[in-house]
Amino acid sequence: MLLQISEPGAKAPPQRRLAAGIDLGTTNSLVATVRDDQAVVLEDSQGRVLLPSVVRYHADQRVEVGHDAKLWQSEDPENTFVSVKRYMGRGLDDLPEHHGAPYRFIDKPGMVQFETHAGSVSPVQVSSEILKSLRERAVQALGGEPSGVVITVPAYFDDAQRQATKDAAKLAGLEVYRLLNEPTAAAVAYGLDQAAEGVYAVYDLGGGTFDISILKLTQGVFKVLATNGDPALGGDDFDRAVYDWLIKQTGFAPTDTRHVRSLLSAARIAKERLSEHPDTGVSVELSDGSVVNLSLSRESFDALTEGLVKKTITPVRKALRDAGLSIQDIKGVVLVGGATRMPCIRQAVADFFQQPPLVDLDPDKVVALGAALQANLLAGNRAGDDWLLLDVIPLSLGIETLGGLSEKIIQRNATIPVARAQEFTTWKDGQTAMSIHVVQGERELVSECRSLARFELRGIPPMVAGAARVRVTYQVDADGLLSVSAAEQISGVEARVEVKPSYGLSDADIARMIEDSYAHAQEDLEARRLHEQRAEAERLVEATESALALDSGLLNPDELAQLGQSLQALKQAIAGSDWQAIKRTADLLNEASTEFAGRRMDYSIKTALTGQKLDALQV
């Protein structure tokens, strides 16, 4: 069988891959893409850009998302979820008092669930409905299924919250190129727009989360120096401050959820009006149907929310300290998130940094625009003029040691991807198992950190105490997601465990949930699997062919022939309709091309670092 290789120098024009960036927000979500080199946010059929992050479950299993669902938040509060992002990767004990949260919570290990009249649902499922809706919008606008997406997460999200977000994307049928930190996404949109250089602070106050990131921008490199934040502080809390004030003023303490929701809406509207006006009226409908009219000035609002504003400054200080910088080093401050429209926030930021913040880009859209730019880059649609993002992990990762203490293995603000290993030993004679508890957080006591996973390494050969050498390795990937492995070194006995944080759903769980959603249509499920395997296989064929076109010289004739055969076999499998055969053949090609990929990487690195093209390379 002959392998076709394009003529030297005649590089086939790269096929443009469809890609999108998604800002999965607490209050609103957006999707954006790159068109003619410009990032643009995508509108729905009625020309609206923001999709309210609201999901409503009906008894007949129908699910409503966005504006339609939002209309029901007061009428059907138990089945209509707002701000679900607050519950991602969170257990019932993690939640503050459920102030104004009218849901029927179910206490589940790892992550809380909600009882609805369509059955119980997890925050991951609720989020996946929002993502599905955005995916449909993207498919309409792009004219096809995106090859991959970038989904943004708060920089201060821990491992459990990131894993939950990625699981939601999988459940929505999205291929995730990358989880990208929201402030970093904003910096991309901003930096590329303004051709900025120097050290910038991104202050991102969203609906439910607060992030501060300090980035150094130099010729095409965005290096995050430090990040900090509060994953449970956002614009919602300002609404609640007004809500509390309303209750205090009227003496009306609503007990039913409908009144709570409508009071919260009134509070939100007042807050938003105060960004434009020095004072505003607020109407509160009491349970007897009578209406009380109140007036709230911006001054009083500022006094009500002073504590919240201050709460954002502490993480800012910490991030600056971790970056080893002072206020004078900051060239500009970028404001991100709808909540930064509040004059009290702008003033506090200006006071702290001793300079007016930059507000050139719409704070609601800037994260989605940055995500779209990054998705386009990750799809491989740009030629040459790439930029590079070097992001960090927000919270230290540790392991429980004797006495319930956390020994840090990876420090916060380490540039990712990062791997660290540490050796531990047995403390009893003949000990054959070791229990490993993975935690995240800065505190010394394990009980004050977040527990991510527990697992046991078994099969250690009996030795005297202190003789075994158990090497525990933490690897954090470019999404900020952790995997842990452990192995006993001396005995030669290979005892190794790979774990996923306990909050994450296993691949089998996700497969089952996807199957459930297709429960009544076996053909749909088969069709979907075929579609997925084909898309994956086509990607592999394309990548292999373009690699061969560029670097086939790195292979000897035998290797070339073998790779060619595997490639042909996969093309034939793709032409058929057996998804299992496609998967099998793709795995074979992946295996066959591993060595080739290694040599290409070596070659690329050598040419990059020596600054010269190597004419010949020994194979």
């Binding site: 991959g148 300290r321 990750l378 070097l390 990607r539 091309s593 591993t594 690329s604």
Partner: protein, 177 residues
């Protein structure tokens, strides 16, 4: 699978194997390397290529940090020369150095107890000067011939001081919050 025969981190970045290092050049070589190997370059490629990219970028970060920080760089150079600094079990230090350490520890405790930011700041400045001195001596020993044993002694002292510095940083942070 990482297959490039890199030898060591200095060779990886194509830098001379010296303690006195051109930090700007290290930075630029590191960025050049990450520009090629970062997982963002492989996001649309096959599983194998993505895995390889992850491993390479992880190595690049590790190598960069090791060479960037003076203490780690000194340890690493000694390791290349087959010298183990044995910081866990070799605690033999000159008496003079140990007395000075005790004195500084006491000053730190005192400043923490009376919550005196200025004392902490002053201590920090003196600690920094002491570290710079030690680093300079380590540089001379490491780049000036085969005084590896003496260099290892100083590296152990440097590690002591760095630990004190970390405790000092934490105390300053706690006072600010």
């Amino acid at each position: 699978m990482i297959s490039l025969a890199t030898g060591n981190y200095f060779e990886l970045f194509q830098l001379p194997q010296l303690f006195r290092l051109d930090v700007d050049r290290l930075d630029s070589q590191y960025l050049k390397l990450q520009t090629r190997v970062h997982p963002d370059k492989a996001a649309h490629l096959s599983d194998g290529e993505r895995r390889q990219s992850l491993q390479w970028a992880t190595l690049a970060n590790e190598a960069y940090l090791t060479l960037k920080r003076p203490l780690d760089r000194a340890r690493y150079l000694l390791k290349i020369h087959g010298v183990d600094t044995r910081e866990e079990d070799n605690t033999a230090m000159p008496t003079e150095f140990l007395l000075e350490q005790i004195e500084w520890r006491e000053e730190l405790q005192e400043a923490i107890t009376i919550r005196n930011q200025h004392s902490l700041d002053r201590l920090s400045v003196r600690l920094k000067a002491e570290m710079d001195n030690l680093i300079e001596s380590v540089a001379t020993l490491l780049d000036g011939g085969s005084h590896h044993g003496e260099a290892a002694d100083l590296v152990r002292q440097l590690a002591f001081i760095e630990k004190l510095g970390n405790d000092l940083d934490r105390a300053q942070a706690a006072l600010e919050d």
